[in-house]
């Protein structure tokens, strides 16, 4: 196991470097071909060249390779690697803030959102999947099947906007009109978006929207998995052992059925982080996804490279943990 982990960690190195270089090259190309992002800061008015240059220099976009189309900017990449790995310096954004600060500001919100989303999709998704899987072909099964496919089909931004308007604003306003409902519910949970006064409660609904798509997948996966396992020989053995139905399902079926589901949930962390882009925009959550989108839009390559690199690391570590968890859950798998 130990050797396996070390090997996997070593494999991270080319992956992370590759990802960083890919991002570096893409963003360098962007500057080479479509111009200095600093220029956009001034909008309609043309800045004095001196000022433009000074700001460009300060932000690290002054490297001459950035004005030669197609240049790989290897030197700049080297500098970036050096500052990232030796000084933990990811550069600054157009507003001259440290990327590490930006991430530190944004991360807690995204993490909270993720926790809520993953919990929601795990609990509700697995429950729905188990219900449907145990009663294959029943009404519940069809209900779960159809509603989950439907959720997957609706673009998440439509879902988000509809939920914000109807649950956050319309329904929330009804609740806010009732005195007996505690504030944390009426103005916290059912608010139209993130609220600093209720940093957790106001993220519940956005988190649920974020988790909705994966919830559907979780439910489908659980359902399929349960249906496969419920017919498995060892489940029959468990029944033949005279165990109660609860134990046959709860211990002998579920444990096996949840292995792929848990794997999915682990991998989904990365996807959910990306999905947070949409949710965070709609519900005004100042998280990582929004940070990356905005930076990409304003062409802040240092931010994009820095933040996405960090996210990639998170995804890689999450994947490794999932693989290890997989080995714990399924003794047939041994990594050596």
């Amino acid at each position: 196991m130990g050797r396996y982990v070390i090997r996997r960690l070593l494999q991270f190195i080319p992956t992370v470097l590759g990802t960083m270089f890919l991002l570096h090259y893409m963003t360098s190309l962007a500057i080479q071909f479509s111009g200095n992002p600093v220029r956009a800061l001034f909008g309609d008015r043309t800045p004095p060249p001196a000022l433009l240059e000074a700001i460009t220099e300060r932000l690290g976009y002054g490297d001459p390779c950035l004005s030669q189309k197609g240049n790989w900017c290897i030197g700049l990449f080297g500098d970036r690697l050096q500052s990232v790995f030796f000084h933990f310096d990811f550069g600054i954004n157009l507003r001259q803030r440290e990327v590490t600060d930006l991430v530190a500001d944004a991360l807690p919100f995204t993490l909270k959102l993720l926790v809520i989303a993953i919990l929601f999709e795990a609990v509700v998704g697995i429950a729905a999947g188990v219900l449907a899987g145990l009663r294959g072909g029943s009404f519940t099964d069809y209900l779960v099947k159809i509603s989950t496919v439907f959720i997957i089909s609706v673009p998440i931004f439509v879902l988000g906007v509809v939920v914000r308007e109807f649950v956050g604003v319309k329904f929330g306003n009804v609740l806010r009109g009732q005195d007996w409902i505690p504030d944390v519910i009426s103005t916290g949970m059912f608010s139209p978006g993130f609220k600093p006064d209720y940093p957790f409660a106001s993220l519940i609904i956005p988190g649920m929207v974020l988790g909705a798509v994966s919830l559907a997948t979780t439910a489908r996966l659980t359902r399929t998995s349960i249906m496969e396992n419920i017919r498995a020989d060892y489940v029959r053995t468990a029944k033949a052992k005279g165990l109660t139905n609860k134990r046959v399902i709860g211990v002998h079926t579920l444990r096996n059925s949840l292995i792929p589901v848990i794997t999915f949930l682990g991998v989904d962390i990365g996807a959910a982080m990306a999905g947070a882009v949409v949710t965070e925009t709609i519900f005004n959550v100042p998280g990582i996804g929004r940070l990356v989108t905005m930076s990409a839009r304003t062409g802040e390559s240092s931010v994009v490279v820095g933040v996405v690199t960090m996210l990639v690391l998170v995804v890689l570590v999450a994947n490794l943990l999932v693989d290890l968890l997989y080995a714990v859950l399924d003794p047939r798998i041994r990594y050596e």
Binding site: G35, E57, R164, S191
Partner: protein
Amino acid sequence: MRGKFLKVAVVATATAMLATACGGGGSNDETAGKSGGTLRVYNAEPAFLTPSGGDDEPSLYVIRQLYRGLVKYNAQTSAVENDLAESVESTDQKLWTIKLKSGYTFDNGEPVNADAFIRSWNFAAYSPNAQNNGYFMKRIAGIKDVQSTDPDGDGPEKAPEPKAKELAGLKKVDDLTFTVELEAPFSGFPTTIGYPGFFPMAEACVADIAKCNETPIGNGPYKIDGNWQHNVAINLVRSDSWKGDAGKPDRIEYRIFADVDAGYAAFQGGELDVMYTVPPARYKEAKATYGDRMFELAGDSFTYVGFPLYMDEFKDKKVRQALSLAIDRQSIIDAVFDGRFAPASSFVAPSFEGARPDVCKYCQKDVEKAKQLLAEAGGWPAGKKLTLWANAGAGHDQWLQAVGDQIKAALNIDYELKVNLQFAEYLETADKKKFTGPFRLGWGPDYPFMETFLYPLYGTGAGSNNSGYSNAQFDELMKAGDSAASMQAAIPSYQQAEDILGEELPVIPMWWRKEAAIYSENVDQFVWNAVADADYGATSLKQN
């Protein structure tokens, strides 16, 4: 990012509208509205909270409560009134003497004296400091020496140190007096210094500008409570060190939204007291829902379609006039913007002193005349498509498409849209004069003075003259206005210059943005400053 800098003097005619619209408005000497309470307002994430750095709307909204400058603008008449200045005077419009009132301090106890202003302006102007508002120091003598240029353009060498660290045009006379020498006479100088880029900064602030950005050291009626919570909130409380008229609310909380729709949802959910803007698509709904709690005012943000005069197709003014005549501005405004804009028929914001309607004779739809003018000009090259340019991701494609549709219908010129450039690339294209067809751009005034709408956009070689327009007579008239004895005296020259534009049409004026703000039932009196927009410090809350 279409920055809106200063807000403009509302002329007498607009005052009446303002008065009825906001229920009496509120200038500082009026004792309307009681003080107290917490005002929760919508804001986007500011770029900077320092006077030298913040040049975008969200920044200015915060800076104006944290800091105060030499002059301020009357909420209703928008006339320039002294704030920290005792007097701002000049005899030749070139050398200005500024006297300060005594007794004002920063929140950290430092005095607000002549040094504070000189320090702040020098800091902004010195190019290695990379301050966005260095742009506004461009008229002060010696500006070239504090800004360095890269000798080989974008080449490998770094820009050298500027020749001087300080602006030669700024001279301290005594603690409360200093003089400002301009590069060239400018009669409108007193109006410019009410812009936050000219607000003073404490020594401690300039010493550690990054820290000052997170925890501003202001000199205004409010001070920050805690730090700038990026992307979340900025909370201000009333400052005890402020000697002027105190702000009405005890506390101003700026809630930060990345998406205006999300902000509107929060307003609907009762989480905000003021939104200084309404999402365009929700304007109708907001008007219906909030009716008397919506404040509207003709604004001064200008949207135009520029002609690339460096292209042969657009050299003949009749072609330009014909294209302008083909457009039904009101219809586009109604369809795409729910009426949130006012059609433009001039080049200077209607609210500005000296502005006149219908300067442009070709800004009303008239298909017959358009066809005739185009025919006189020799027609449009057969088969050539008109390329319409706009930057991507800002929703301009919608209305530009409508413009194209109308031109196609009226003049049978087929069009294509070129709307995929991000703003930075788009602006560089503009700077390099690489547009291949009419292009969308906007303009907001830098100060409440006609000149700001004229010279920067149409003066020969001026910074934002993206059309490449050049007219000696126009330049001459501008110069005459700049050297006029007073702001009033400058107006006739400027008006003549505008008339030239009305005939030559280097750009097609499209529309002026209408300001629309909404406020909640908690608000007792909402105050909109004609120049500086929503004035949160003057807005009062209902006291229970």
